[in-house]
Amino acid sequence: MADEQETTEKSTDAPAQHPTPLLDQLETGPWPSYVTGLKRLRDSKDKQYAPMMNDLLGQLEHSFTERLGFWKGGAVGVFGYGGGVIPRFSEVGDKFPASKEFHTLRVMPPAGYHYSTEFLRKICDIWEQHGSGLIALHGQSGDIMFQGCSTENVQKAFDALNEIGLDLGGAGPGLRSSTSCVGHARCEMSCYDEVRAHRTVINRLLDEMHRPGLPYKFKFKFSGCGNDCTNSVARSDCAVIGTWRDDMKVDQTEVKAYVAKAGRKYTIDHVIAMCPTRALSLNDDDTLEVDNRACVRCMHCLNVMPKALSPGDERGCSFLIGGKSALKTGAMMGVMVVPFMRLETDEDWAKFEAFAVKLIECFADNALEHERMGEMLDRIGLPAFLEMLGLDVDPNMVIHPRTSSYVRTDDFTDEANKYFERKKKAAVDAAE
């Protein structure tokens, strides 16, 4: 109550509203305006955050005028954790004192971004009491971004959010928050249980998130199929992408219905001819012929004809390692290191979890400071990486075999024998 009274007093003699002539221009037009939202908070005179949001708007307008940002980092956190809060102190706090501390709490949302309205309202109530009233749904990290909190209120806000079942996400050199696609919850393309995968990996490795001590950041992302709706291939150190190993399913009645509706030429031009591996052919009776050994599970034909075509029954995931953005050696796509891991039984899931743990251990033990997994992979080479992880080499890991002759191959025959032994064992396993 003491806080509320103090706030009321402050708001009575609060400084005059900052003029925002540039920001005002972002209130017109058909798209909903975040500036209008910021002003609603500023104008909630009975709320503790009104003065903060007035000064925040003042600083933002100052940025629009000067074309410069005015935030700097620092050290702010919550008891027991070493990350999850993004500290922001204003460099122009003398002009805009009420928003001189404007920290963000990164909070992990339910996997797949599912909410009940009741839960969203609880979140709003907590942030209204302790923060700025401004929430980003969601940040590029995959977190709910509670933006704008004084140093003093960070612990209070966290405690209240933590009590309703939310936990801080990652920041700094550690495991980062993850995202998973809608997947099993509402998508027929989904090839594994994304919620289970997401929660299994992140919650098993939570210590690496809450007390960051890795060489640099490490991100997992989970997409249920090759459409990769979480953009995992380019945006995560470990992309888990759903796939299937047996034949895709074809409902020929639905194929015919599609051709009848879309037209034969359209079907040939936009389904058959767009298959990247020429795995499709339209028969004279308008049924579809699929060469499943040529198919690479790219998802195009399934996207065009979702009623007629579906993933096969033997489902699981691929792992692609090393995706990242520009810093420092340039953007990288993840590379295939496990073409298929079945994800059906509890035993499969135990293997999946063990692989994630081993991957983090490998990164912790071998990466240099501020080196991402993809950079480490480039430095040590894929063969050394596979050996560390105990993974077998597979032709699905390359676009084509090496073209440079500058390699020592005196143990080639031994390696070839290992390959043949693996093939033999796989054939025996498959027969059982």
Binding site: C187, R199, N231, P306, L327
Partner: protein, 359 residues
């Protein structure tokens, strides 16, 4: 909460259990969906193997939302939908309903409240965006302002499904590119080496860390005015700004040195072509708040050319690969310069190692 005097220990609960919040129909049919179609732009219709049906209405949000906006979206969810929502990775909100009759009233409620319904299928969906001047400590430009300006311009393309394929636009406020790869990417490009405040470097920065951070080894330790500091070889420096986060006295931002570049042809999906990085089209556009009109014009030009010429399902990069870069630059009217030639690691793989040419 505990009433003891010490600090409250956190409950390390991790990623919350989605099934506590998921729409009951999605929970019931988890992993059992059969097919879907698009009854109209902004609406998805999913059918489960047991015949259960669910309709999803998708609407755009500004991402950066005040509690009043979120509560308004919740009110709509309670009054016109079934009390459960989800968000897409591009900050669109989705309402699930178990009856087709609820779709039109829900669309009307959202539209009346100012939330455009769309963002599905072959449209220009919401831009992926970052923090910008609102909250980042290293921003070259704003994020939400750029997004608002672009989405105002592209609103009609959001609420319709008239594009050849989906168009994902991204914006990033610095060259680190937090928003990732896009069919069109709008990113800050710095144009000048950092300006160094030599009085502060040794007080604030761990110099070896800063030296190690430079991608082109252009930074070295130096004594300046009798103080330990750092110097930059400006011939080597390509103005990426990587030294600024570990050493804020090496200021990379500024009115006269942040420009905007537009890139095309990035994609994450495996459908048809492999995932691909976006490629440079235009650089040196003015960083011009509050509406960035020069950038908007470039984006409009690219969207229009793509819309007019690409085949159904061809993403931006796939369309350009088919017609060839010479025709892309002709059709859009942008200049092809020496700066379009890759000079980074792996550059040779981006050059034309053949006698094939488009005329």
């Amino acid at each position: 909460m505990t009433s003891t005097s010490g600090p409250r220990p956190p409950i390390e609960s991790g990623v919350p259990n989605s099934f506590l919040y998921m729409h009951p129909m999605l929970k019931k049919n988890y992993g059992q969906w059969d097919w879907h179609d698009h009854p109209r732009p902004g609406v998805l219709h999913h059918v489960a193997k047991n015949g259960d049906e669910v309709w999803t209405v998708r609407a755009g949000t500004p991402r950066q939302m005040d509690v009043y906006a979120i509560r308004k979206l919740c009110d709509i969810g309670d009054n016109y939908a079934e009390g459960h929502v989800r968000f897409t990775s591009r900050s669109n909100i989705e309402y699930m309903v178990s009856s087709a009759s609820k779709v039109e009233p829900l669309i009307k409620a959202l539209t009346d409240a100012g939330y455009p319904v769309g963002g599905t299928g072959h449209c220009v969906t919401m831009l992926a965006h970052t923090q910008g001047w609102l909250h980042c400590d290293i921003p070259g430009t704003d994020a939400s302002g750029v997004v608002k300006s672009m989405m105002d311009m592209l609103h009609d393309e959001f609420i319709r499904e008239e594009m050849p394929s989906r168009v994902h636009i991204t914006t990033s406020c610095c060259q680190i590119n937090c928003s990732g790869q896009g069919d069109i990417a709008i990113n800050v490009q710095y144009t000048k080496p950092p300006r160094i405040n030599h009085d502060l470097v040794s007080k604030i920065c761990e110099r070896p860390t800063v030296v190690a951070r430079c991608p082109v080894a252009a930074i070295r330790p130096a004594m300046v005015n009798g103080k330990p500091s750092l110097e930059v070889d400006e011939k080597k420096c390509m103005c990426c700004g990587a030294c600024y986060p570990p050493c804020p006295p090496m200021q990379i931002n500024g009115k006269d040195c942040t420009r905007i570049a537009v890139w095309v042809g990035g994609k994450n999906s495996n459908a048809r072509s492999r995932p691909a990085f976006h490629k440079l089209v235009v650089a040196n556009l003015p960083n011009n708040p509050p509406r960035w009109p020069e950038v908007a014009e470039v984006v409009r030009t690219i969207v229009n050319a793509y819309k007019a010429d690409a085949k159904d399902w061809e993403r931006m990069g796939e369309w350009i690969e088919r017609i060839g870069w010479p025709r892309f630059f002709e059709m859009t009217g942008f200049a092809f310069t020496k700066h379009h030639l890759e000079t980074w690691t792996g550059a040779r793989r981006t050059l034309n190692m053949s006698a094939r040419a488009h005329f």
